[in-house]
Symmetry: C2
Amino acid sequence: MAAKKQTTEVRQDEIARAALELVGTRGMKGLSMAAIARKVGIVPSAIYRHYRNKDDVVDAILDYLQRGLGGNVRTIAYLEGTALERLHFLLMKHIELIQQNKSIPVVVFSAEVYKGSPRRRVKLLGIIESYLAEIAAVVVQGQNEGAIRDELDPKTVAIMFMGLIQPSTILWHLSVGGYDVAKQAEAAWPVFRRAIEMDSSP
Amino acid sequence: MAAKKQTTEVRQDEIARAALELVGTRGMKGLSMAAIARKVGIVPSAIYRHYRNKDDVVDAILDYLQRGLGGNVRTIAYLEGTALERLHFLLMKHIELIQQNKSIPVVVFSAEVYKGSPRRRVKLLGIIESYLAEIAAVVVQGQNEGAIRDELDPKTVAIMFMGLIQPSTILWHLSVGGYDVAKQAEAAWPVFRRAIEMDSSP
DNA sequence: GCTCCATGTGAAGAAACATTCACATAGTTT
DNA sequence: AAACTATGTGAATGTTTCTTCACATGGAGC
C-alpha cells in the first residue's frame, strides 16, 4: 500500500494541517509522528523527507497560525466604516476563524507548545503581540474619530478585546461543543462597546 | 540516601504540590513521575505507595485547584459591601491566587489535562462552571441592589469577568513575567465596571 | 526490646516514540 | 527508453517513561 508520491510543498502543507488538527482533537500529547503519518496516509519515516524533525513540524503549525490571524487583521484594515464597526467585524471574523479551525485556541493556550522551547515561546508571543498591536491601532483610530474614550489605554482595550473571546473558546472545548461561542460574543459585544465608547450626551 | 518516612496523608499532599509546580514550570510534558519524585525527595516507585498511578496524581492536582478557587469565592460570600465592591475584590483575590500559584492557569488552559480523559474534562468543566455560577450570583445581587443593569445576562457578565484575567495570565506566561497582571486588571476594572453598572443619571 | 506494617529502594520489564538507514519506486529529465 | 532524483517503505535502534516486584527499613504499638 504505497502512498502516491507528492511534491514536498504539497506534503509539507498536508503534514502541517494534519498536525494542527491532531493537536486540536488530542492535544500536544497526542501529536506523534505516527499519528500524523496515519492521517496523511504515509509512513512515519516519510515525514522526514519533508521536515527535519518533530520540532520543525510544530514550528510549521505556528506559521500556519500566524498566516490565519494575520489574514484576519488585514481584512479589516481595508474595510470602510467607523472604528467601532470594524472592531465588531473583527470580533466576528475572529470567531469565524476559530470555529472553522477549532485547534487554534488549543495551540495558543497550551503551555506545552512553548514550555521548554524559548524560541517557540518568543515566536508565539510575537504572533499574539502583533495581533494586539493591530487591535490597538483600530482603537486609536476610534479615539481620533471621537468614538472611543480618550482616556483609555489602547493596549488595555486590546487585551480586553481578546478577553471577549478567550473564555468562551475554552468553555467550548471543555463542553465539547456545548457552548455557542458566537452567541456569547454577540451578547458581550454591546456591553464591551458601552464600556469603551464616548458618552453620547455632552 | 533513604528519605525520611512520612504518613501517606503528608506525602500525598507533597506529591500533589510538586506536581502542580512542575506543570507550571515545565508544562504537562515535563510532568514525569521521576521529576515529581526528585522534587519530593523520594524515589519514583515510592509514589505508588500513595497514588495508584500517574492519572491519580493529575486528578489530585485538579482537587487542589478546586479547593483554591472554591476558597476564593467563599471569602467574598461573607463580605460586606455592595455587589460591585465585592466583584472588584474577587478580581483582586483571583489575581492574588494565580500570582502565588502561577501554575493554575497552565493547568486550566492546557488541553493536555482533559484531552483523552472524558472524566477529567467533566471535572474541570465542573470546577469552572461552579466558579462562573458564583460570579453570576454576585451579579444578580448587584442587579437586585439596582447597581448593575437589569437587562444583562448574569452568565454573560460572569464569562466577561473571566475574560478580564485570562489574556493577561497567558501573556504573563508567554513573556516570562514581563506582564504585570495586577496592573492590567486594575486598568481593566473601571472599564468593565462602566460597562455593567446602572446609569447614574436617571 | 520485639514485632509488624507502612513506607522507601533499586532493578527490571514493557510500551511508546523519535529518528536513522538501506532499499524500493514513481515520475521527470535527458 | 535509460538514468537520475525525490519520495515512500519497513526494519532497527536508542531513549524515555510508567509501572511492577522483591527486598529493606524505620517507627508505632505491645
